[in-house]
Symmetry: C2
Subunit: 185 residues, 2 copies
Amino acid sequence: MQFNINKSLEILERTPLVLETMLNGLSDEWIKNNEGPETWSPFDILGHLVHGEKTDWIPRMEIILADITDKSFVPFDRFAQFNESKGKTMKQLLDEFRALRKQNVERLRSKNLRQDDFARGGIHPAFGPVTLLQLLSTWVVHDLNHISQISRVMAKQYKGEVGPWVEYLGILTVGRRQEAVGSRQ
Amino acid sequence: MQFNINKSLEILERTPLVLETMLNGLSDEWIKNNEGPETWSPFDILGHLVHGEKTDWIPRMEIILADITDKSFVPFDRFAQFNESKGKTMKQLLDEFRALRKQNVERLRSKNLRQDDFARGGIHPAFGPVTLLQLLSTWVVHDLNHISQISRVMAKQYKGEVGPWVEYLGILTVGRRQEAVGSRQ
C-alpha cells in the first residue's frame, strides 16, 4: 500500500474514538497494570500519545514546511508522560488526546499538501534526512502500534487464568521489548 | 490479575464497538490486505470472530454447565470464515458480530454464575480437561488478541512508507506466525 493522505487521515482521525471505546470506564486493573518492569500500562501509553501530539508530529511537519535553513527535529522525550500524566485520570488523558488530535488534523488539512510537498525533508536526530511522507506514514503506524500494544498489555493481565490455552495465544508470550524500541520517535 | 466475571464482561461487551470504531468506513486497502501468504486480513478476522460467537464460547459453556456425561467440546473450524464471509461487506460482519455478541453476553449473564461454577469443566479436543474459568478468560484474551492483530495487520500496510523509522517500529517486523497458532481455539 502506498502512502495516501486521505487514507492516512482515515486512521489519524479515528484513533481518539478507538482509544476511548477501548479504555473509557474500565477497571483500574485493566488500565494501570503493565507487562512487567520497565514496560508501559495503557495509562502510560495514553500519556505518551498526548505528548506526541504536543511535541512530535505536527511540530516536525512545521519544521519540514517552514522557510528555514536548519531543518533539525527536536529529539522526542519518551519518558515525559511519567511527569505529565501525574494526578490525571484516564478520562482526562482521553479527552486531552482527542482535543489535541482534532487540532493537529485541522492543522495538517490546512496545509493543503500537494504531491511534491511529501518529498520535502527534515533532519531526524538519529536517522538524518527523512521526508514528510515518511513522517506522516510513521504517525499512522505509531497510532496502530500503540493500539495493538494496549490490547496486548490488557490481554496479558489474564495470562495466569487461561490454563492450557496459553499455548494457542501467542499474544501472551510475545511483545514487550518491541515497545522499548517502538516508543522512540 | 485474577479472573473476575464483571471485569471480563467489561471487555466482552465493548469489543463490538471497538471493532466498529476501528474498521467501519475504512478503505478496502486497510481491511482487505493481509500480512502475506496464509495470513488474515481484518475482514478475515471479523469472519473468524463471528464464527466463534456461533460455535465456540457459548456452546462450550453450555456443554460445561449441562447435565450430561459427555463433556467433549466440538473442535473449532478456524477456516470457516472463508466460506461464511463470502459476498459480505465489512459492515455486515460488524453488525452480525454485534448482534451475536449481545445475545451471547445476555446468555452468559442469564446463568447467574457463582464462584463454584467457574471450577466446572469440559473436555477440549487437544488439551483435555479445562475449566469454565479458563474458557471465559480465554474468550476475553481472544478478543484482545484479535484487536491487537487487526491493528498490526493495518500498520504493516505502510511498512514500505516509513523509511528509516522502520527501525523504531517493532510492530512492522513481528507477528504473523503467532496468529497461525492464536486462532486455534
